[in-house]
């Protein structure tokens, strides 16, 4: 559940208990690989240079400040998966939408009409921009402004599907 307003207590059940339940399913009878989509906002409490693809989240972020609920709930899911991987050899593939301070945005489908979520950051922002009457002048110093380096969501949906297909045929899973 993606919601940057709700507190951790409200996101605990869908994002943390929900992940735990899916881990239980993944470990029941035949072990099934777990593909987890996380968020770059997990990195909000982590030194950027430590926030790498190889890092163990339990090492680079062992404790959390209680501020925003969503990043912490996704962090907790990552911790659970690390534990499940270590304790029960659950194969885990994590795809993290890791935005940087320059605010990368995942954009909607390029092909089909009307496929957008009106509450997502970019469509919602664009809706308001299109209704603007007065716009402030250029707000960014050209050499130093944050960029909007969007990826189209199709690319990532396909990448996740391709990665997931590889995970499910991994030899580890058949043993």
């Amino acid at each position: 559940m993606v919601n940057h307003v709700l507190p951790y207590s409200r996101l605990f059940e869908p994002n943390v208990a929900g992940t735990a339940e899916l881990i239980r399913i993944a470990l029941t009878s035949k072990i099934k690989p777990y593909a987890y989509v996380s968020t770059g906002s997990v990195g909000g409490q982590i030194e950027p240079s430590a926030f790498t693809e190889d890092a163990d989240i339990r090492v680079i972020s062992p404790t959390r400040r209680i501020d925003s609920g969503y990043p912490n709930s996704k962090w907790a899911g990552e911790v659970l998966l690390r534990e499940a991987n270590e304790l029960a050899a659950l194969p885990v593939g994590g795809v993290s939408l890791r935005h940087d301070p320059g605010r990368h945005h995942l954009r909607g489908s390029a092909q089909r009409g009307g496929q957008l979520h009106p509450n997502d950051a970019f469509p919602a922002g664009h809706r308001h921009r299109a209704r603007l009457v007065l716009s402030a002048g250029r707000r960014w110093q050209p050499a130093a402004r944050p960029l909007r380096r969007g990826y189209q969501s199709n690319s990532f949906a396909e990448a996740i599907a391709a990665l997931g297909a590889g995970w499910s045929t991994d030899s580890r899973l058949t043993t």
Binding site: E53, L90, H126, A130
Partner: protein, 132 residues
């Protein structure tokens, strides 16, 4: 999964220099009646209905409770934030290999033209959904 746990950072390593200012430019060029006011103070004066509670905040600070609207001061960001493309190499290589399979949808949106196209597509989609 060789070691049973793999993480991919999803990022676009391509720096095409486009920010929100360009999106406003494109909307203006597409005929939206948007008036730009270069002076921040003047813009604020004209924007502000007296009855609306708002607070001006600096970028990077969060407004905690109590204020319904925030207006960001003109921004200067840390150029270091642009170096984030050091991350996300794995997903980049996956996307590149996917791209080599030459399926038309497997492209990374990189050009100014495609960005501009996505801006008008958002407007068209929002209209289609009755949101504009």
């Amino acid at each position: 999964m060789v070691d049973g746990f793999e993480t991919y950072h999803v990022m676009n390593p391509h720096d095409d220099g486009i920010g929100l200012d360009e999106y406003v430019d494109w909307l203006i060029e597409a005929g939206h009646p948007i008036q730009r006011i270069d002076d921040f103070g003047e813009w604020l004066q004209r924007l502000r209905p007296a009855s609306v509670p708002y607070r001006i905040v600096s970028v990077g600070t969060r407004c905690s409770g109590g204020c319904r609207y925030t207006i960001h001061t003109p921004m200067v960001c840390n150029p270091k934030s642009r170096s984030a493309h050091r991350l996300g190499r794995r997903i980049g290589s996956v996307l590149q290999s996917e791209k080599r399979k030459s399926a038309p949808t497997r492209t990374i949106q990189t050009s100014r033209t495609s960005r501009r196209r996505s801006s008008s597509k958002y407007v068209a989609d929002l209209r289609l959904l009755g949101l504009l």
